[in-house]
């Protein structure tokens, strides 16, 4: 070329390498090519205002990601070769991995599918490309998690059928319905839900606790995955922030819609995180920090600063955040005492915390633990010691929206169960909270569809009428191996053998099946 203009700067060059490949269609109508972009009511005036949250061309992407994968798989190989599972702090830790593989990993796959979809739905090419990169990243996480846990699956129970369980097991409908909710929404709500609320606001309370837990408990495979995924997560977070700012800047009519989504997804996320709270406080033999501390740092402080920043767009902090803030003193304890009672129907074990652990909780929860929760554990421990390990054989009532059993208490009164109900088109629906009830009222036509595991069992849709058949046949939970109390479980016995505390006995696993049945009627 003879005449030369000014050399492109990095930003413009990246735009030429991405969105400039797009064009204004003339043979097909834009609304036919992008039919899903407008039904949510979000108004986009000018997609060219989209700021690319990161500038990564495919050649660089392949190069960086391949380097990361090479290192990661070298560690996986070394971990398996050296039986790294024997170096963890305690076998109770593996239960956190069981929760992760069945509760979180399937979400990574759903995210891959969801981002592939929105990676096509937007008419803004810059946004599409950013979403597609997240799609393939999420596929990465879904797959590397299978590989990270593969070795654990060979030596511990409860990890063997994650995707199957995710589709069926009662408590796994909490994460599943969360992601189904996002994926069935329009593209802008999907990004507000997952990129903003989930990845940006709450990731330090979901992904990070599992990875820090792995680091603290000498789980080299999982923590290496965590470090390897860190730079991907950083990209996902910048996308989350860009999305929200872009939508808000495009049109003032978008503000109330986004506010409603932030309210909804904050609460949906918070309810999902209740599972993480019990993981942090109860499932980690070596604890990273308490749930209450994590909530203070990552939500109250960081989230507070974020919402201060968003104030100029007319966005206020999520509705009911006061309830969530107050709940930090109770959440993990209420969850664990519930799961303790329903271990016959979970793919992980539960147990009574040790004396030292209870002292740790008294210290971390000075106003609540000794007052409300320690006495329960003391009672349950006594029952167990006297041969009456407690299992609750009455199925719990689930919230129609978040699908957590209605186990939470009212703000300001930890002795009063929080419960709401409404009638909608002749049917009665139950909720764990005012917030979930609000979400229902906004979109009843959506939430009446919910596949509630307990209802489904009672309606006979789960291959059996009694819990044992459902658990064994429908859930694929191996009775006496995957479920029940940790103490005396096959995992526990194998761990004692590994640590030289007990001889290995042939037929141990077999014996469990007959011995460890719930005592409760």
């Amino acid at each position: 070329m003879a005449v030369k203009n000014k050399k492109l700067n990095l930003k413009d060059k990246y735009q030429y390498l991405t969105r400039d490949m797009a064009w204004e269609p003339t043979y097909q109508k834009k609304e036919d090519i992008y039919p899903d972009e407008s039904f949510e009511g979000i108004k986009i005036v000018d997609w060219s205002q989209w700021e690319d949250p990161f500038r990564l061309t495919m050649d660089a992407y392949w190069k960086y990601q391949a380097e990361k994968e090479k290192k990661l798989y070298a560690i996986f190989d070394a971990f398996a070769q050296n039986n790294g599972h024997q170096n963890i702090t305690d076998a109770r830790y593996v239960n956190a991995l069981k929760l992760f593989l069945t509760g979180v990993s399937p979400l990574e796959h759903a995210a891959f599918q969801g981002y592939s979809k929105v990676g096509r739905q937007f008419s803004g090419a810059g946004a599409r490309v950013a979403c597609q990169m997240q799609a393939i990243d999420e596929l990465r996480h879904s797959q590397t998690q299978q590989h990270a846990m593969s070795h654990y699956n060979k030596h511990f129970n409860g990890l063997h059928d994650a995707a199957h369980m995710h589709d069926r097991v009662w408590f796994l409908s909490v994460p599943k319905s969360f992601f189904d909710d996002a994926r069935t929404a329009g593209p802008f709500e999907f990004l507000t839900a997952i990129s903003f609320s989930f990845e940006y606001v709450l990731t330090n309370l979901l992904f990070v606790p599992f990875m820090s837990g792995a680091a603290y408990n000498n789980d080299m495979a999982t923590v290496t995955f965590g470090f390897s995924a860190q730079s991907d997560e950083a990209r996902h977070m910048t996308l989350g922030l860009e999305v929200i700012k872009f939508i808000l800047e495009q049109h003032e009519d978008n503000v109330p819609i986004v506010q409603r989504w932030i309210d909804k997804w904050f609460w949906r996320g918070f309810r999902l995180l209740s599972l993480v709270s019990m993981m942090m406080d109860y499932m980690l033999p070596k604890k990273v920090m308490s749930w209450a501390e994590a909530w203070e740092v990552y939500y109250e402080q960081n989230g507070g600063a974020l919402f201060k920043d968003l104030e100029r767009y007319g966005i206020r902090p999520p509705k009911y955040e006061d309830v969530a803030n107050e709940a930090k003193h109770h959440l993990s304890h209420q969850l664990w005492t519930t799961f303790y009672q329903y271990s016959q129907a979970t793919n992980f074990h539960t147990w009574i915390p040790t004396e030292e652990e209870m002292d740790w909780m008294s210290e971390k929860y000075p106003d609540t633990f000794d007052k409300y929760y320690r006495p329960r554990y003391e009672f349950l421990a006594k029952e167990h010691a006297e041969g009456r390990r407690y299992y609750n054989n009455t199925l719990p009532q689930l919230c129609q929206v978040c699908q957590v059993p209605t186990l939470f208490t009212e703000k300001g009164d930890a002795t009063k169960l929080s419960h709401r109900q409404i009638e909608h088109e002749g049917e009665r629906y139950h909720f764990c909270s005012e917030a979930c009830c609000d979400i229902f009222k906004d979109e009843p036509e959506k939430y009446v569809q919910a596949w509630l595991p307990v209802h489904q069992i009672y309606q006979g849709n789960c291959e059996g009428g009694d819990v044992e058949t459902v658990v064994q046949n429908y859930y694929h939970i191996n009775i006496g191996e995957d479920n029940f109390e940790y103490v005396g479980s096959p995992d526990h016995k194998r761990w004692q053998f590994i640590k030289g505390m007990a001889p290995q006995q042939k037929g141990d696993d077999q014996a469990e099946k007959t011995v460890q049945k719930p005592n409760a009627a």
Binding site: D12, W23, Y27, N83, Q86, Q113, G119, Q132, K154, W451
Partner: protein, 333 residues
Amino acid sequence: MSIEIKTDSVEPIRQTYSHIARRFGEKPASRYQEASYDLEAKVNFHYRPQWDSRYELNDERRTAIRMEDWYAVSDPRQFYYGAYVGNRAKMQESAETSYSFCDKRNLLGRLPEETQKQILRLMVPLRHVELGANMNNSKIAGDATATTVSQMHIYQAMDRLGIGQYLSRVALMMDGTTGKALDESKGYWMDDELWQPMRKLVEDSLVVDDWFELTLLQNVLLDGMMFPLVYHRMDAWFAEQGAEDISMLTEFMRDWQKESLRWINAMMKAVAGESEANRELLQQWIDHWEPRAYDALKPIAEASTGLDALDEVRAELNTRLKKFGLQSTGVSA
């Protein structure tokens, strides 16, 4: 003599995940298997999609093609994410060497203006076709159910973005990274008669709803003629014009196409081989789209290689289709 390091062996209680064992037996599984089979949600979806309430999430009815088990389609390259990026990293490394060499020696800048213009008019506009392919494959990755199928399409989507970026860099190299050449090239895409049938075809592909129809149209029919025509025939034609250096910059595309044929053929074999009904449907789609793909490439062939080259690649595609019990009607037997 061999050395033997003693390790404390621990008997595993199982060899692999239950869902993998159900398919392949209770034995150690490959990384590809553990990463690719039965990971997606299959039943008990909670809500219907607001963007298309006809079907549920992960609903196999999003295509009219019926498979007893979509996992019958798998990847002969055994690409899970790690294997995929590892492979592409190597390919991009050698591409990078060529692009740097070309840039340093200003090989494109030394071509006659007329040849440069031909590159901008005949080859660089394909970056827009690549973006269309990127969008189509992303849609397919979002609609397909089995992970073995959906992952191949997201790789394909990202590959097409990458190829579009390589084509863009050809123009940036010619104009000294000002964007001027890309603007010129985009002008051809939008307004030059030569490109309009192709642009119409790409826009039409963007409204195809059935994802398997779309993968057939995009990855089998259009690519099946476009890649051999452009990156082999037109490449030779450019060489005749004294522009053989451009070959260095399209090596990636040739290697890529050769490799991607493997999974595309495997997919077609499995899907066409499944049932007569599938084959009939595929044939209907071929009858509809193959002539249009041919027509879209016609002006480009006429302006460069001549029509014979296009007829030859069309015949090659027909040979491929015949292996699946299909044929392109445009080719006389």
